[in-house]
Amino acid sequence: MFEYAPAPESVRPRIRDHYGLFIDGKFVDAADGSTFKSVNPADESTLFTVAEAGEADVAAAVEAARRAHESVWGSMSGAERGKYLFRIARLLQERAREFAVAESIDNGKPIKETRDFDVPTAAQHFFYHAGWADKLAYAVPGGPEPRPLGVVGQIIPWNFPLLMLSWKVAPALACGNTVVLKPAETTPLTALMFAELCREADLPPGVVNILPGAGATGEALVHSPVDKIAFTGSTAVGRSIAKAVAGSSKRLTLELGGKAANIVYDDAPIDQAVEGIVNGIFFNQGHVCCAGSRLLVQESIAEDVLARLKERVATLRLGDPLDKNTDIGAVNSAAQLKRIADLTATGEAEGAEVWQPECALPERGFWFRPTVFTGVQQSMRIAREEIFGPVLSVLTFRTPDEAIAKANNTPYGLSAGIWTEQGSKILWTAERLRAGVVWANTFNQFDAASPFGGVKESGYGREGGRQGLEAYLDV
């Protein structure tokens, strides 16, 4: 037996006991004094308290952002804005380990992922958009010089707190907008550390404002006099935001839920397909909007693929998010854990066969075993609803047409995966899939230069790449 000794990450970031709202370059408490707690999902301990922004705070932040836009940021040359963004990117790289550990502690995701994915990809987003800041005319060729929109309200989810912040803040700032950003109520830490980093970068006050809070704060932001709302989160909340801004001049981009099909043909590179299936659904505990939560595997190889998949899933290491060898961390919150457990229970009740590897769960904290459902039918809730957890539904198909029909039979359309060694089959399939992002022989790959976004109920607008800039420009 070759057991791995605990390998905890030794760096510990300085986490304050209390954080304020970040408005106009200063940390302040909420006007009504409200606060809430942030909890470590791996042990349920309280990490810190943080001010909760109310309507008055939202108004103050939007005013500060408006002043900053009119007095300094909107009229600054692109080259100068680019310098600030490069500085932020470099500072993020220098602090990468601190941010990675903080993200793991506040979110529950493994340090392996925050260290190798979240933080480097966030820094890359700032570097990428820093480069665009003085080249915006080339982003939207053929028209007049594009102009910033003004003040942007941004609401981000808890699954990739720092990365989603960078997806929102970097393009907005590069295009000359100022921002008021609300991090998710369970994961405000790295956004607040980012606010400290903005101060260190000498970013003019008011250009970035961070307002921790829950749904009410977000609602206040949506109704405030901003020029645009950018939201990433659930389809239900996205729908209510769309209603709220309808008929106003506010622009809106939405990146919502998904129920992605990961299609494995019988001529797939089988070991890599198994890796792709695992990465597709168990990356970040399955808290990924584009997760490959529906495996569609061709009937002739289904038995072989499932055997290999189970063998592989059994090697996943679940536990302390700060252990460098942990593959599956904690579920972000008690509420999310309950949702995952409830939906999983419906799968069993509706007749699907459930499989989980033997693995011990820590006593405290929010944990869920990697789960594979076989014998899943298209009509079951676990095949239709977004679970947002480490739960895979396996369906089979006989013909490529059947694969397409099943893959597209969902209100969502964020992402999809195709596994085959045949290039022509990749193209044939990708042409027919209704999804914003289609991966071929890989899954969950992201790059600042590559636009990301959905169709149907998965939202509209793109983030990243040249296409993502248009969402923050008046063209």
Binding site: M1, F2, E3, Y4, A5, P6, A7, K112, D116, D267, A268, P269, I270, D271, Q272, A273, E275, G276, T315, K324, N325, E421, N441, T442
Partner: protein
């Protein structure tokens, strides 16, 4: 042991193997390479790696004296460190090595079949093999006919391996695929299965004599091949990466792969080997560092 299949049957099975996606394979190997092995698990890994070494000298300048000193180190690397698995030498040195390790558990492995290029007639390769066995080799490291493989004559490669296996008698046969010359991961997978169907007891990456020797992705792929082969046939085959593995850190990455891809069944010197020469010294220095806290340096370990 050995396959009941004809050459044609083996070749058709090999040609029907699923493809390998290079990007995905390399990403998986890199992922396994990030495992952090510390403290007691590192100590355990170091001793296991030492016990899995085929301590090798394959130089034109090898002398009986050099081989004897290699064998002495193989038997007692240092202090309470375990002996290595085997010494690996040219056929001309096999008798010297056999005499030096006689009475111990350390095996004598001899390269044969016109190592490293294999560009000699088959009867010469077979005679080379028989001579090494007669000289006392417990294990034969043969090279495959890469020319025939790349030309598509898989059946010839199969028959040649089978013939060498027969010439080995009781000796275990390690089949060197020379993956650095096979041009693609798909070919590595095909060659692995072909060698196993032909009777290989071990599949080995490299001779150490070409530009690209063992890499983690190639070795991972060969581990997947032996895993699949056992699942299909019930026969377990060993894996030996060789060439270019010089540091403890690298060796531990390979052990992590064995652990997570193949599991306990392969975590022994009987089923996994490192073909290496300088690796042993780094393992010994890291071993000392775990007990003393200091990393000594090359003057504190023996040159051979």
């Amino acid at each position: 042991m050995g396959s009941m299949l004809s050459g044609a049957e083996a070749v058709s099975l090999v040609r029907a193997l699923p493809g390998v996606d290079a990007v995905g394979l390399e990403a998986r190997a890199a992922g396994l390479g990030t495992r952090s092995i510390k403290k007691e698990s590192k100590a355990q890994a170091i001793d296991l790696a030492i016990a899995m070494i085929d301590l090798t000298t394959l130089e034109g300048a090898d002398t009986p004296g050099k081989v004897r000193s290699l064998c002495a180190k193989a038997l007692r690397p240092e202090g309470d460190a375990p002996p290595v698995a085997a010494v690996c030498v040219y056929p001309a040195m096999a008798a010297t090595a056999a005499e030096a390790v006689a009475g111990s558990d350390v095996k004598v492995a001899s390269v044969a079949t016109g190592f490293p290029a294999g560009q000699v007639p088959l009867d010469v390769r077979l005679a080379d093999t028989e001579a090494a066995v007669v000289a006392g080799a417990d294990e034969i490291d043969m090279v495959i006919n890469r020319g025939a493989f790349l030309a598509g004559d898989l059946e010839r490669v199969f028959e040649e391996i089978k013939a060498v296996k027969a010439a080995c008698g009781e000796a275990r046969l390690k089949v060197i695929l020379e993956t650095g010359e096979l041009a693609s991961y798909d070919n590595v997978r095909r060659a692995s299965h072909l060698a196993m169907h032909a009777g290989a007891d071990f599949i080995k990456t490299s001779t150490g004599k070409v530009g690209v020797n063992a890499t983690l992705p190639v070795t991972l792929l060969m581990m997947q091949a032996v895993r699949d082969f056992r699942a299909a046939t019930g026969t377990q085959v060993g894996v030996k990466p060789a060439g270019g593995i010089r540091t403890t850190k690298d060796a531990i990455k390979y052990l992590v792969c064995v652990n997570e891809v193949l599991g306990d069944d392969w975590l022994s010197p009987h089923w996994f080997r490192f073909g290496a020469s300088s690796l042993l010294n780094d393992l010994l220095m890291q071993r000392r560092k775990l007990t003393t806290g200091h990393y000594s340096g090359s003057d504190y370990v023996t040159v051979d």
